[in-house]
Symmetry: C2
Subunit: 319 residues, 2 copies
């Protein structure tokens, strides 16, 4: 293990043999998003499709990680295996919140059946919203049957990342909290399953009624998002949550929705990659000599910004 190759394909083979350090290096490659990440992506893409991905999102402090740890305990008890990606788009480094989570999760850290990784941005084009699906594909191709994507927060980026899973679990607490109120609509849109965690606290009935009312107002498909009550710290409700995730998986597979969702997800990913690539290309042209020339003409009033854009687009095409 000390003389581990740096070649992504060799690292992938080593990770296939169970080397955790090799897997950690693969994840770092993806975070950086360099040419090696492209090679790795091309190598793994045809090997994916068996893992079921579960997005977990909720406000900081809602107990997502404790709940994820409780799910991990259930998964172990039935001899299954599970990988957990803790995604923190708000921090370029592994932040305090995640460190706290990892401490709570440490029972599982050295566990062969459980893999836990905190992901952070290290240069990948498009940040974590593009790096995360690549990381999921590596875990999928390595044979992990379940991949949990846990996002920290309920902002649009977090919701987008957690929503790009086969099954999305939204964790709330009795009384909701301000952070959730601000993005309720976004959360409603992605939720396949609602969890009211800390359900031993006051206000749980009101929160349940709130969710039910919102669900009645929504235009739903055939799947009506169930509401599961949990007390993560005690493990209460974790088995029911796991069973509900399984039911949603069966529903997706039998209805044909699973392949439809995955098809849409890969289309959306392609759009995002294209937009980021073009944006990067535009910036590099703008920062070059042609950009400087056009900026001068703009300032002198010689051409307007639409004409300048037109000229740059023509340059771009003839490059």
């Amino acid at each position: 293990m000390n003389r581990l190759s740096t070649d992504p394909v060799a690292l992938f083979e080593a990770a296939s043999d169970g080397h955790r350090l090799a897997l950690a290096r693969l994840m770092s490659i993806i975070e950086r998003g360099s040419q090696e990440a492209r090679t790795l992506g091309a190598h793994t893409f045809s090997r994916v499709g068996r893992a079921h991905t579960v997005g977990m999102t909720g406000a900081p402090g809602s107990g997502k990680s404790t709940l994820t740890a409780a799910l991990a305990t259930v998964v172990r008890s039935i001899d299954e295996r599970m990988a957990i990606l803790a995604v923190d788009p708000s921090s370029p480094f592994t932040g305090g919140a995640i460190l706290g989570d990892r401490v709570r999760m440490q029972d599982h850290v050295t566990d062969e059946a459980i893999y836990i990784r905190s992901m952070a941005t290290r240069g990948h084009l498009g940040g974590l919203s593009l790096a995360t699906p690549q990381a999921v594909r590596v875990l999928d191709a390595l044979g992990w049957p379940w991949v949990i994507i846990e996002t920290v927060g309920v902002g649009q980026i977090e919701v987008d990342i957690a929503g790009a899973a086969d099954t999305t679990v939204v964790v709330v607490n009795p009384g909701w909290g301000d952070a959730v109120q601000a993005n309720k609509a976004g959360l409603m849109e992605i939720a396949d399953i609602f969890v009211i965690n800390k359900s031993d606290r006051r206000g749980v009935d009101d929160t349940r009624r709130d969710i039910q009312q919102m669900l009645e107002l929504s235009s739903l498909g055939d799947w009506e998002p169930p509401i599961v009550m949990t007390v993560g710290t005690e493990g209460d409700g974790a088995q029911e949550l796991w069973a509900t995730i399984g039911e949603h998986r069966s529903y997706l597979e039998q209805s044909g929705e699973l392949s439809a969702r995955r098809r849409n997800r890969i289309k959306a990913e392609l759009s995002k990659i294209l937009n980021w690539s073009l944006e990067a290309r535009v910036q590099s042209v703008l920062e070059g000599p042609r950009g400087a020339e056009l900026h001068e003409k703009l300032e002198s009033g010689e051409i307007d910004p639409y004409a300048a854009a037109q000229r740059l687009l023509e340059i771009d095409e003839s490059d």
Copy 2:
């Protein structure tokens, strides 16, 4: 006036002669953002630079429009002229909030010295964040010395639009309110002047202290944003606000910051136009036969999304 030309340059000439209906049509052309808008943009771009623009933003109900109307009264009393663009990105049509505002502003509607226009999205590329600077340039080229850009709301789009002015006024109320709390950082970044409107209410001292503390923590330039107290409904503080706007204008002109800001703004506008144009182009390729072919290859696992993006970018270049 009944047989007004539809040619944008002819309309511009008519509007220069004071025809309000011609000006209204010019604004509609910009909202639609068609080829006519390009022609109009090219025609006006070299004629701009004299108007001073003032962005006004604040939460719904903070009293921005009442305050703008009070400013209009001040402006009339000193024989100045002022155009007001009420921008509502949240609604594709003129929404209730603006209708309410217009009723309050109706004293000024038929006033030669004041022009009021509600702007809405009708197809312009990039929506109101790109249509608004074009509308401002038309008013500037027509000789309006002051253009107020009033945005409804404190979301990122509203803040971006109001922040793209020479002088940005952020209107808050005693106690702030939840909507403002959620985007305090965004508001702090753009504010040249703070207004505490409804300053006859409780909590005004706390709010003032809050703002001062935040300003002390910010890394400011030479201009320290003043805090003006107003009661818009009574017109109280409107003259002081007008004087403060004038002071900020003088500061910008004397420090050279005015031209620096305008230079940066036009660069940012060019970037946005390029990004929107490229995004539109990517979408049209993705929706065409080449897009369908690549989507099939993606689904079959033949190529990964990064390789697909690469191929589309090559197609794009050879078009």
